[in-house]
Symmetry: C2
Subunit: 341 residues, 2 copies
Amino acid sequence: MADRVHVTLRDVALAAGVSSATASRVLNGTAKVREDLRERVEAAASELAYTPNAHAQALVRASNETVGVICHDVSDPYFSGIARGVMRAAAQRDLLVMLASTFRDSTREVAYVSMLRAQRARAILLIGSGFEDRRWEQAMDVELRPYLNAGGRVAVVSRHRSLRVDTVLPENREGAAALARALLALGHRRFAILSGPVGLSTVVDRVGGFRDALAAAGVSVDQIEEGPFNREGGYAGASALLDRGLDATCLFAATDVMAVGALAALRERGLRVPEDVSLAGFDDIPVVRDLTPPLTTVSLPLEEMGERVIALALREGSRGRRRIERVPGTVILRASTIGPP
Amino acid sequence: MADRVHVTLRDVALAAGVSSATASRVLNGTAKVREDLRERVEAAASELAYTPNAHAQALVRASNETVGVICHDVSDPYFSGIARGVMRAAAQRDLLVMLASTFRDSTREVAYVSMLRAQRARAILLIGSGFEDRRWEQAMDVELRPYLNAGGRVAVVSRHRSLRVDTVLPENREGAAALARALLALGHRRFAILSGPVGLSTVVDRVGGFRDALAAAGVSVDQIEEGPFNREGGYAGASALLDRGLDATCLFAATDVMAVGALAALRERGLRVPEDVSLAGFDDIPVVRDLTPPLTTVSLPLEEMGERVIALALREGSRGRRRIERVPGTVILRASTIGPP
DNA sequence: GCGCTATCTGAAAGCGCTTTCCTGCGGTAC
DNA sequence: GTACCGCAGGAAAGCGCTTTCAGATAGCGC
């Protein structure tokens, strides 16, 4: 916004023949103002299409009506489900959301926190798991610490090793374990895993939970393929598994999005799901029930998680203790998993 | 952000033993500053974890580094595809994106424009078709006009009857017509349409284009069902059609998302796609190629559209003429459409 | 060595707003 | 009629920054 002149409070006050103090009082309803003056001010404001400069307000009030949200990729259904909840809750509270997409670049993530800090965002929400990486943790801490000290609020979805902030914590470990047990109960004993990038806490938890539950039943997994957290990652991972000779009756993908890619790869290679191999994912993003076969998965209430994380961040008071809200996952057995051939 | 005190430029200047003018010059690289002073300032800034108050900067510079994006629903893949492009382009330009979800509430849409105006957003992007509704158009005009006059930039995706601003225009009419012709070529003569809410220009264009192309071949459509632009809308619409006795060999849904719902409904009623009835959508959102059968659709380069709309809005100069960038849709025939039974 | 110019630094103004603080008014009590 | 109180409205300060503007210092030619 550059070249033209804006309508300011002064203009409104001038037009109404009052001081800007009075105009401000009228427009904010801060104090009692004589009826005729109030009317003149309101008329002038609407006549001039006045909109207060939010920056000036933020400056003098030292607070503003925006929250920042940082995610990896807006177009990932996992995230956009959560984002939907955040947006809804923000709308209810008349808050504006500044959304940043890191495209899984940790440097950019830190940079965004800095920008959001500069914007004096009322709260910053980190959606998506943290990087389990010392340098990232440290850089993040450098940005977040002063923000918190200045009264900023931070809340996250997923486990962050180093961030001691309010957290909405999907029970990835437990969910994956429950899924493993359900799959065992179907009769499977040979599993392969499509893992996301190691170093993401979500991956660690899901894969760990899955393996531990299997181990408890005396089953181990040696076929494990790692790839990025997207459809291509799932596709490539499944293809690699197939190339090396898939020795499993059931395939577990760390996310539904990866499972979708895996399904495509399996199908291309002529394997039928679930007749030849069962397939399960995690998250329960909306599309998976429309796949053929519908995907077995661990369901997470994404939209609700979004609402809860912003509520957590906004809640005043309770400055004391850090709160962790656990969100259980529900195993949903659909047609993509049956007993082993 | 409320209670604690922030590190200000003054603090940095004090710590470095210089005036705040000098500190500002160092931090912005605005002017040459003696080497030792510059070092002291930089050291102090990083020591104190200083972040400039973006509001103060915005206030004095009368411009800022944010753009506003208004969409209907972040979790709709059509929108999130576009948003991805916007986010990527914004990141390249070091811009922060304020994202607002209207949940298809036109009142809220206008309110958001007002908020974005207050934030002095550098540009406002309206994603998703306008409402063809006089009152909305007028309210929108009241907000947008002063914004534009003050040098704000506005760009939209989709046709807006009343908004004479830079536009990325998917060729809905032509795309739908091309699809209709392709379907005719397959041999279909009896069609049903799943339409979105009338009063959305996108719906008008797509349905209109489809019908006109059929009409040109002497084919008319009387089975047309209207519903909201989401999976449920498609599901309900298809169900209603089925209840009334579907008299068509091919079903066209105005969006892929609706087609997904329709597919579920058809399947539930025991109709096979494409053997019993062909199904086509519009948009080519990522999931449709993973459906069984993969969906015939008109492909739109969503991410690219996002990049183009922000580029349009940001482009300085060329203040003169309004620009309209047409984006052709490509008919993609997949397995969901074959010749009539 | 003196005066002039070229640089760099600091003081101060001002962006648009909110919020004391203070003045002036009318009303009440004596 | 005078003294006092309460209240509404205006003047002005100040939020944190950038940017003139002017002052100080150094460098140069003569």
